[in-house]
Amino acid sequence: MSVVRIPTVLRPQVGGNKEVELAGTTVREVVDALTSQYPSLKSQLLTDEGALNRFVNVYVNGQDVRYLDGLATPVGERDEVRLLPAMAGGAHAR
């Protein structure tokens, strides 16, 4: 099982959880496991063709999977998968 970190904006759709534990050996398997558990997420995370929505970024251990193997990027038992909305840099001003 790997830990998937859920961004604030999507938490209402996963029962308010910050993290969800899911099984899967690739990003696609993990995302499929997530969307089968919470079907309302599917249209937000994936396009109709099953690719990643351009406004969502997926990271495995802090690396954007678009520059690894995309949805085919392997996910290990202890890897952290993180979903984040695309934001302008400096989106967190202080």
């Binding site: 954007d64 400096g90 967190h92």
Partner: protein, 367 residues
Amino acid sequence: MALPKPVVVRPPEPDDADQRSGAPGTGRNAPDAQVHAHAHAHAHAHAHAAMAPHGGRYDDILDAIGHTPLVEIPRMSPNPAVRIFAKLEMVNPTGSVKDRVAKYLIEDLERRGLLQPDSIILEPTSGNTGIALAMIGRRKGYRVALVMPDNVTNERRQMAALFGAEVIDSPGRLGSNGAISLAKHLVSKDPRFVMAYQYGNEANPRAHEETTGPEILADCPEVDVFVAGLGTSGTLMGVGRFLRRAKPGVRIVAAEPLPGEHLQGLRSLDEGFVPEIFDPSMLDAKYLVSNQDSIAALRDLVDREGIFGGPSCGAVLVAAAREAQLMTAGTIVALLPDGGWKYLSAGTFTRSFDEMKDDLEGGVSWW
């Protein structure tokens, strides 16, 4: 108090007779004079070669933008076979890489004939771009208004005000996205506002394609990896474009801030924002870096290398270190966007991570 008189050393004058004769070696004492002049020229060139290249002389502060130093920071490399060089953008006139961008943005508006006598240059910015636009606007005589999240550090407001810019507040909880949408709204309401718009204006990456990129390759022809922060994406797009053309195979690597929990003021993913100038295919890797890791690296940078940077410098170095760990050998150039001055009041360099907990969660301003 009188200053000591400068000592003037005159170069030996060329022998007039020699010059008139036109041919070397025909005048009186010609061989000696020649050797002498040659030796002098040689010594002169040699003295300069031994000196670090220095800042240069300019007619105008705007011409002094760029030409920043590249400094090796071996104590920040986790891999002894990988050299890391830092491009010190805090050395720019207003203290950040954004001087390059602001100059190109304003020149672009001028070239397109968009600036009328009553025009106000408007820009959503959490800091550095605003300060740079304010300075350049003042220098050139344009009015500048900046839309800033209301929770940016006071130093930024003071700097913008110092150069005569007006500051318009946007809700801090909406971050940069909120500033961008408010600025777009203002432009639609009042025709005097002219948006420079660093997120969507090609002049932003072009500044880096024409200045930052060539400077990096000139100072470090052996560069294998270029690392910079991903804000507007201008640095990465522009330097990337230049290096892909001039030295194919260089990896272009982004450090991206992990957004704060409380500041993701979005209602849905579709409210997310991808800068119009961002072309994802220009990157070879992208690392998400937490604020805590950035600040830890930033403090290491001060302690080990004596370089005083802003939080985004720390993030860039975290990404550079991750790249260095993947390499067997090679050279990384890491662009450090600004200095630490504007972050002193936030306790970035002094507070314990426990004390900073809320700020680390909420995020520290990067760009």
